[in-house]
Symmetry: C2
């Protein structure tokens, strides 16, 4: 008798929505892909009351008469929401709330902005932020502490490079951290004047005031606003800390978590601490899950932290370094795999990529099944190693805009001879590997249209270089669209939840002002997102 | 139009259960208290489908005809579930899973048990556990490392005293921690031979293997099983760590969290890290909330860590010590109060109680409103300070079984002259202070019937001392019942959710084998819990 009640109670919750009629988004110029990557067009989207897609309707299909509500989109274009396969959610929020140097064009420009920001924020004990890039500034060297002192000397300043793999300190920051010319970087990092690369950043980080929980909530909301504006309805968060996870939970409990987060714990210990002996369930109606771990095998190319097989062309004494010894990376991957956590490893340089592939090969006999090993960036790959992605079932999680931003720098770092496996999207696809595309926000803007255009042109917003950089590595517009949507969902074990518009998928979609399958690259980059919907609820509308 | 849908969607979820009829627990000998502490008797309990009480029915009341289900309790006694105002949930679980010395009657008995446990658990690198009490052993001193080496020398052993305020190490544990005869305790602790009191425990704790997340889940489930068996349906968790909170979330997400947890973060930093700028909402249908913080002003009486105004009678050179300087406790309380966290401070000795009361007086003008300041234990209070509880609106969160376990030890520690304000339940009530009763499990068993009988007899299970210890401090059976149910709920800001059976309260109740309002103290102690229900679902049934 009790059992009956309990079952009835459970059914009540599950079945309640069935008492309600469906809803209809009608009169759309709708397009999505099917499970095989084929484009499907439709004119109406029937939703279940719990915010899933119930059916795609063609123009001739009869519309249901009994509807809970109906929205007439007046023929505008409707697409599935974008899924960013690689982003840093809180970092994006801090970028929005702190000093942002990502649009500075010279050191002098940055110095002016730093001084103005400090004047405008007299209450801040430390000036923090980032986004600088000495390559963009055409400085030919890293900036120095003296360069920063010239802008601001009275308070500590600590500013991350655009890629997050190096940070720049003024003298007040060095003093606050007790760092002198005699200080030595921990393994996995180095100090160049006032710039601290990779692991060396910890020397200053440890004295920088940490964000309070309320700052973290504010940062998340700022990031979410940006993602919604770009039509990104789901994202991987590549390296979630325990504190960030707790913030996600607070936001989820309060109903403020709208964008879907595929969280990768920062290291095995974080994932185990948060999720225990395996991934968390999907929480908050498929809006949050910690399903895997993020590891770092090397640094970034811009700061010469990427691990190369041969020395840098523009720094013959350096070839970067691996962050983890052979046994360490294997032990970490085994610990994660034992508990069914997905493993995503950052690898930029060709040596780093080869090492991670070898580690996967070594352990994948023991850890079989649907593991979906991921290499994040897979930026510079030795052509000899390229087929190993497909062979080992390794997802290449890549960022098209890194190519258009970095190709000049990559040529300088590597020289022309080593670039055949660089940003090699088409070679990856041709070899049978799976692609997932992201932006690596806030390193790049989380603008999927910029990534999309880059993917089939290999040209930047200015149309450079003419004809595209290594144009053989262009992929088709449709292949790129897949990687920016369903590919990202698949890479996060979420292909049954979002990434396409099909019966049973969450109704995550955007309304845009043009047809992205017909637009020129320039037009595509200028696409305006008019509305962003998640789970059948409108979360953003352009003014 | 969209707005209409959203409202309709929300309503669908909220109203779905209304489609179902109520359920009835009928033919009960039911008793509860009303909001004024008056006993109410009833024969039927009408439940809403979402597990709340809808109505108490008297024998003459007509029963609804349309019911989802009905349970006939055949005249058995039904009571509200007990609310433990002060427990340590994970510690209870570890006690159940590790070596438990709480029933040892002598050092030799303990040594035998330790050796047997080590033989039975050859895979354990460390032998951990606790529950020993040199007072119960009538040892007249703390045990030594040599005493422990005699039981087990080949592996580290680290065993907590019954009160958790001291731990006992063997030589292997000392070696593992690098502790020698020259080692000095950090402030707030001391070392006596092989026993580490209060803060000194950290010297060894730092090298003890930490429980894995799966161990924590197992510990919680073991503790929950024990609580359900005793009819405890809600408990305060007095000092939840971040790791423990993450375990609660995993268990809640998986639907395994059944007992209701009023969580107090271990210190302000933990609460802020977990809950942000204020308490969490009630989660999992009122099963989990972090609403406050736990602080410690002193240690315990048994280990002479309690802070006294005058020296210990049996150790004239010692009077304990405060754990926090005046400004530290005030700063922590202010930080908590600013974010509306409730403040619960452990204070055992008369000096500690006076200090916490002074701190509350100093800041309560600035932090007004319904704060419900709590002093945990309020064990030895200077009679001159007693009226300050009522005057300052401070909840006295006390544990009746501490009195029956400790009175002999308290007489030895304090001498007879200072005991007028010891375990002074009736004086607290008469002065107008609010009582909340708990067990401090696992220090004592979480048996509410033992606490209840102690509260109105001041005698232990053996009937000692004859006539009750300081019998003026007995309170009535009904006053004690209130403190063990509604009093605990009120102390946790949960009085609108549980603690009594009334319309709108969660249907948390127990079926027992006798009428506790008529039973003799001995009979009351022997009460058997037959069933434990939480939120209208049966969670435990006796064999």
């Amino acid at each position: 008798m009790i059992r009956t009640f309990l079952l009835a109670g459970a059914a009540a919750v599950a079945l309640a929505p069935a008492a309600h009629a469906d809803a209809l988004i009608d009169n759309v110029n709708g397009m999505t892909m099917d499970a095989n990557g084929k484009v499907i067009r439709f004119t109406g989207l029937l939703l279940t009351p719990d915010g899933k897609v119930s059916k795609l309707l063609k123009s001739g299909d009869k519309r249901p008469e009994k509807l809970d509500w109906r929205s007439d989109m007046k023929g505008r274009v409707l697409l599935p929401g974008f899924v960013d396969a690689h982003g840093h959610v809180f970092a994006q929020g801090y970028r929005a709330l702190e000093l942002d140097l990502s649009d500075t064009t010279s050191l002098a420009d940055a110095q002016t902005k730093i001084a103005a920001y400090a004047r405008a924020n007299p209450e801040k004990r430390w000036i923090t932020g980032g986004g600088w890039n000495q390559e963009v500034w055409k400085l030919g060297r890293f900036p120095t502490s003296a360069d920063l002192d010239a802008a601001l000397g009275d308070r500590p300043v600590w500013l991350a490079r655009a890629d997050g793999h190096a940070s720049w300190a003024n003298s007040a920051a060095l003093r606050a951290a007790g760092v002198t010319s005699k200080s030595v970087s921990p393994a996995g990092g180095r100090i160049e004047g006032g710039v601290f690369v990779d692991a060396a950043q910890s020397l200053i980080d440890k004295v920088v005031p940490q964000p309070l929980p309320r700052d973290m909530s504010q940062a998340f909301l700022a990031a979410q606003k940006i993602l919604l504006r770009y039509g990104v309805t789901a994202t991987a968060d590549m390296g979630t800390s325990v504190e960030e996870w707790l913030a996600y939970r607070r936001l989820g409990d309060a109903g403020s978590l709208r964008v879907r987060i595929m969280s990768y714990g920062m290291g095995v210990d974080t994932a185990v601490k948060v999720a225990g002996a395996g991934p968390t369930p999907w929480l908050y109606n498929d809006r949050l899950r910690m399903g895997g771990i993020k590891l770092y095998e090397d640094g970034a190319l811009g700061s010469r932290g990427a691990w190369l097989k041969q020395p840098y062309a523009d720094a013959p004494g350096q070839s970067g370094a691996g962050f983890m010894a052979d046994d360490v990376i294997r032990n970490l991957m085994v610990r994660a795999a034992m508990d069914n956590f997905q493993v995503a490893v950052h690898a930029i340089g060709d040596k780093a990529n080869a090492e991670v592939l070898s580690a996967i090969e070594d352990i994948s006999d023991s850890y079989k099944g649907d593991r979906r090993w991921r290499i994040e960036h897979a930026q510079i790959v030795d052509p000899a190693d390229l087929p190993r992605f497909a062979k080992d079932n390794v997802i290449a999680s890549m960022q098209p805009t890194h190519e258009t931003s970095d190709w000049r720098m990559a040529e300088a770092r590597l020289g022309p001879a080593r670039l055949r496996g660089a940003y090699a999207w088409n070679a990856m696809l041709q070899s049978g590997a799976r692609l997932a595309f992201g932006s690596d926000f806030p390193v790049e803007k989380p603008d999927p249209f910029a990534g999309w255009a880059a993917a089939f042109t290999r040209q930047d917003a200015a149309g450079e270089p003419f004809g595209g950089w290594q144009p053989d590595e262009r992929i088709t517009r449709e292949q790129a669209w897949w990687a920016l949507t369903a590919g990202g969902a698949w890479a996060g074990f979420a292909e049954d939840k979002f990434g396409r518009l099909a019966a049973g998928q969450r109704a995550d979609f955007i309304i845009v002002d043009r047809d992205p399958l017909l637009a020129s690259p320039t037009e595509l980059r200028a696409t305006k997102v008019l509305q962003t919907w998640i789970g059948g609820q409108k979360e953003y509308e352009a003014n």
